[in-house]
């Protein structure tokens, strides 16, 4: 029997990860619930007047999406590290580059994609002007993929540590900042009636760079974590 090729292997891994996620639907719901609750905190803290909320809405929605992505990043490799399947993955003949992309793809499909899909509801609750909603969804679609890739680096580096949770935030939050800047700027531009394309293009460019480089760092990080 010949082993599957890299792409085929990657697709099978992706299906496995998605299947695992679908078997626990409540866990998929957790980041969305977190998103909803944190969004609800802002009117309580900033005051409920529609004008105030509309002004803060682009930043609030983006920061909240970033935080829910951050909190789920920690778990990307953890269960497979604990039951030893990650070690098998490292021994597999297929390149680790593609395998980690499958993990990140599954992570994005179960968090970022869903966050982007439900974000219009919360945008309306925060009184975000309607013309900005398309920009919000588009920037979240690209931006959360970027966040998942960066978060994966932190997850790979800390997966072997007992107390990774706080540490991973310290490692990757500084790296999240450019994504936040361009993501919320895209939404703000849409609110002001300015073209959104340039911001999305920059986010897309950063995503291309991250797809090419982040898996290398993740693969190196996983090897280090397994060796330790």
């Amino acid at each position: 029997m010949t082993p599957p090729g890299a792409v085929q292997f990657c697709i099978r891994l992706l299906r496995r990860q998605l299947l695992l996620a679908v078997r626990r639907p409540l866990e998929i719901g957790n980041p969305l619930l977190f998103f909803a609750m944190v969004v609800a905190l802002f009117p309580l803290g900033l005051g409920p007047t529609p004008e105030t909320l509309a002004g803060f809405a682009p930043g609030v929605l983006w920061i909240t999406a970033l935080l829910s992505n951050l909190l789920t990043s920690d778990a990307v490799f953890r269960s497979d590290f604990e039951d030893g399947s990650l070690e098998q993955l490292l021994l597999a003949p297929q390149p680790l580059f593609m395998s980690v992309l499958a993990y990140i793809g599954a992570h994005w499909l179960t968090t970022g994609l869903l966050l982007a899909a439900v974000s219009p509801v919360f945008a309306l609750m925060l009184n975000l002007p309607a013309q900005a909603i398309v920009a919000l969804v588009a920037s979240l679609l690209i931006g959360t993929a970027l966040l998942s890739l960066i978060g994966g680096i932190g997850a790979a580096l800390t997966v072997g540590l007992k107390r990774g949770g706080m540490l991973i935030s310290l490692l990757i939050l500084p790296l999240y900042m450019p994504v936040l800047i361009f993501g919320s700027a895209a939404v703000q531009a849409a609110v002001g009636g300015f073209p959104v394309g340039p911001y999305l293009a920059i986010l897309g460019a950063m995503l291309c760079l991250a797809i090419a480089l982040a898996p290398l760092a993740m693969a190196a990080g996983l090897r280090i974590s397994i060796d330790a």
Partner: protein, 248 residues
């Protein structure tokens, strides 16, 4: 080239050579620092608009320049330790992180002190200031990651990967915050084109920048020597060295 490469892998050799360098570099650094400081603080003309408060430039700018350069030193040392498995590069990387963090903090702190009389505020979310703050976070992240690992060999490798990721990110972070919001003045000293700072103020500044580079090197070497002793504490050469110190 190879013999020297192998020598770098030898802790006692590195310990000795670092000590030999420090013996003459430390006095030179002190001399340069004192000269630059006295020159800058007492003998340069005061500035037209800012009066005497601009003189903090002689600490602020060198600290900021060397803090940034220090990150590249750390990341390159990390790369060397990852690629050639050179333990001593790992020591250098580990030693560079706290020094760089301290310099970044000094740059931010002096910037705040300078900002109060000139801009009327301690802190603004300006591009350069924000990227220096993020640089501080990146340094502290490396320190925190190193401390989190029990296995110090893995800790070194993980930090090397993290600092390389940070190195790719620094230009992106810098450009993104630059584009985001800028209040800080542009660069006055340029390698190409006209330098917009008067020579009487420029020369002490250049001296201070050189002195801070030397200071960074001294701190790095001192830190590396301490780290070497700690890592090699069970080996014969350290035992011998320490017992000799006790006898003397």
């Amino acid at each position: 080239m190879w013999p020297i490469f192998h020598k770098f892998g030898s802790p006692p050799w590195l310990y000795a050579i670092a000590g030999a360098i420090l013996r003459w570099l430390l006095p030179i650094t002190l001399l340069a620092l004192v000269t630059g400081m006295v020159w800058g603080l007492l003998f340069t003309p005061s500035e037209n608009v800012q009066g005497n408060s601009y003189r903090i430039i002689y600490i602020h700018v060198p600290a900021a320049v060397v803090a940034l350069a220090g990150y590249y030193v750390m990341a390159l040392a990390g790369a060397v330790s990852l690629i050639w498995r050179m333990k001593m590069a790992d020591v250098a990387m580990k030693a560079a992180a706290p020094v760089g963090a301290a310099l970044t903090f000094v740059a931010l702190f002096t910037g705040a002190i300078w900002g109060k009389p000139t801009w009327g505020t301690w802190w603004v979310w300006d591009a350069r200031i924000t990227s220096m703050l993020i640089l501080l976070f990146l340094y502290l992240g490396v320190v925190a990651l190193y401390e989190a690992f029990d296995n110090k060999e893995a800790a070194g490798k993980a930090c090397a990967v993290l600092s390389l990721v940070g190195m790719v990110n620094i230009p992106i972070i810098y450009k993104s915050v630059d584009w985001w919001y800028s209040l800080h003045q542009g660069a006055s000293i340029k390698f190409t084109g006209e330098t917009s700072i008067h020579p009487s103020m420029l020369y002490p500044l250049l001296l201070m920048i050189a002195a801070f580079y030397a200071l960074f090197t001294c701190a790095l070497l001192l830190n590396m020597r301490a780290e070497l002793l700690q890592r090699e504490q069970r080996t014969q050469w350290v035992q011998k060295l320490l017992s000799k110190d006790v006898v003397n």
